[in-house]
Symmetry: C2
Subunit: 323 residues, 2 copies
């Protein structure tokens, strides 16, 4: 899901006015009573629910994958679409340092979309999804099936973390150092060239589950977010929730990606996390680079400075237009 | 959601062949390891998850509401669509005897769908949804927003029941008596006439949450299901899961509804439950009729007999064609 979408993606829905008022209203309307078992609602990668007497908190996230918005039937095999539908939600679980437990899959398909192959599309879609589910220990627990003009899929994933240990967006403190995994801009580059490693990177994102748990357990990360909509926008979200500003320099770039793609391109699904100053962070984790790109600062809440100059938060919009 | 959809609704998805093979495959592929915290997966109204050390089991269900499949912009106000999107999932929680806790709402909207009113549609949709959420104690915990050619909404609801107490579909025993709430066929009648009480009944279904809890706590119901796709199909589902047959007579009919509408019409969202023989069941609960319509029998698994003759399971298909 990416809970924050209520706050941010509302801007992308074409509306005549009052987006900020609407999103603020939704978050207020979804007010969580103080006695609630819901520890965290709208405003993070996952909602956090605390079962009675349990040593674990549960994480919940849901993400839409829509034909001709998030994928095209021309570019994606059904198995790739199924895999990516699940990967998007797993990435939210990774960002909270969680371990996935089960998923619910709602899928609406259309006769036209599959032409002569309609008897094969749905099983192939689930085969791709279930392969990733098995790799990550996520059990398919149910869902809903229907029909629509375009393929629409919504995947809800439930995960778990030790009680009170979820990596949230609002935990960063001034002075905390900012790290990102991998090299950014690969997915945006792939979308523009439609070939090579970058294109595979776009078609087949890897949820950083092991890294998320490592950041939570070993690095004692203070906050985290997954880079689904672009560094500039996602870091702004984390900074907004933590009521801080962020100062960064250029992040490591995917080979061939422009600075623009690395800063604003979406769907890299790498993790961004913050750690207390002087935390010893290894340069890599399981073959994945981990790079310090800056630090959190007091300042204008939500502002991201790149080499000292304000960086516009252009992630999702930019990316969206590419479709 | 209605987890069983994998088993049954697959039949409604136009496919060249092998529906049964596909659905069987999905349930096998989603095999639940014996040590899993997932107590129940595909095959019931909700998935059941057992948090570590908790006195409560958690219930999870998700349901799609798609424009021109489940509702039309001509017939439904945005608030009615929002309310119904949530009501459908709450009805699954009711069927398990649960208490709703929170929901995630994924919503894709389109510019065209709302014409000049696009700035009002989304807030009005959420206002309808949130009103029912407040009435039922369901907190909006997050979701996802995107765009699509038609409005698509997927609502996941999480609920809770005391550990091991959820009303499942597979708990009925031979000799158990079958009861239904309310009078059936109203929603199908409303859909055909588009007026009066029946139409309001179709536009504004009421999840039977209090009745579900009453059936679980006070009546010690052995099994339950909500009537979302028609009595003939839903009772068949319960009978299949319980590995029994069912013998019924005509259920109570909504004023003006035909026997066909009462037996096969969908979207009444009343509850059907089974209780041990000679259980004292009141004739009504909070103004809602409760009527004995038959009993579970050993016999051909999944078969429903109406006055001794096999009843075809025509619920959803029949209803679906009405759109």
């Amino acid at each position: 899901m990416v809970q924050h979408l209520y706050e941010i993606r509302m801007y992308e829905i074409p509306m005549a006015s009052d987006e900020a008022a609407l999103t603020g209203w939704l978050r207020r309307a979804a007010h969580i009573p103080s006695h609630s078992q819901l520890v965290r609602g709208i405003g993070d990668d996952c909602a956090i629910f605390r079962p009675k007497n349990s040593p674990e908190d549960l994480l919940f996230t849901t993400d839409l994958l829509i034909e001709d918005v998030h994928f095209t039937g021309r570019d994606y095999s059904p198995a790739q679409a199924g895999r990516k539908a699940l990967a998007r939600s797993l990435s939210d679980i990774a960002a909270m340092g969680g371990e996935p437990r089960f998923c619910l899959v709602s899928l609406a398909v259309t006769e036209q979309a599959f032409g002569q192959n309609r008897s094969r599309w749905v099983p192939a879609f689930f085969r791709g999804l279930l392969k990733l589910a098995e790799e990550t220990g996520t059990i398919l627990a149910g869902g809903d099936l229907s029909h629509a003009r375009k393929v629409v899929c919504d995947v809800m994933v439930a995960g778990a973390v030790p009680r009170g240990q979820a990596l949230r967006r609002d935990g960063a403190r001034s002075g905390d150092e900012i790290y990102v995994s991998g090299r950014l801009g690969g997915s945006a580059l792939g979308l523009s060239t439609r070939r090579g490693k970058a294109w595979r990177c776009h078609l087949r994102p890897e949820p950083r589950l092991a890294l998320g748990r490592f950041a939570r357990q070993k690095l004692r990360a203070t906050a985290a977010i997954d880079l689904s909509d672009g560094l500039s926008l996602d870091l702004r979200r984390l900074a907004l929730e933590s009521r801080l500003a962020a100062e960064i320099s250029l992040p490591p770039r995917f080979a061939g990606a422009t600075a623009e793609q690395a800063l604003h391109g979406g769907e890299d699904y790498e993790l961004l996390f913050t750690v207390p100053p002087r935390t010893r962070v290894p340069a890599g984790f399981e073959g994945l680079a981990i790079t310090r790109i800056g630090a959190m600062r007091s300042g204008k809440t939500g502002q991201v400075l790149l080499d000292g100059k304000p960086l516009r938060a252009a992630g999702y919009d930019h990316f969206n237009r590419a479709w």
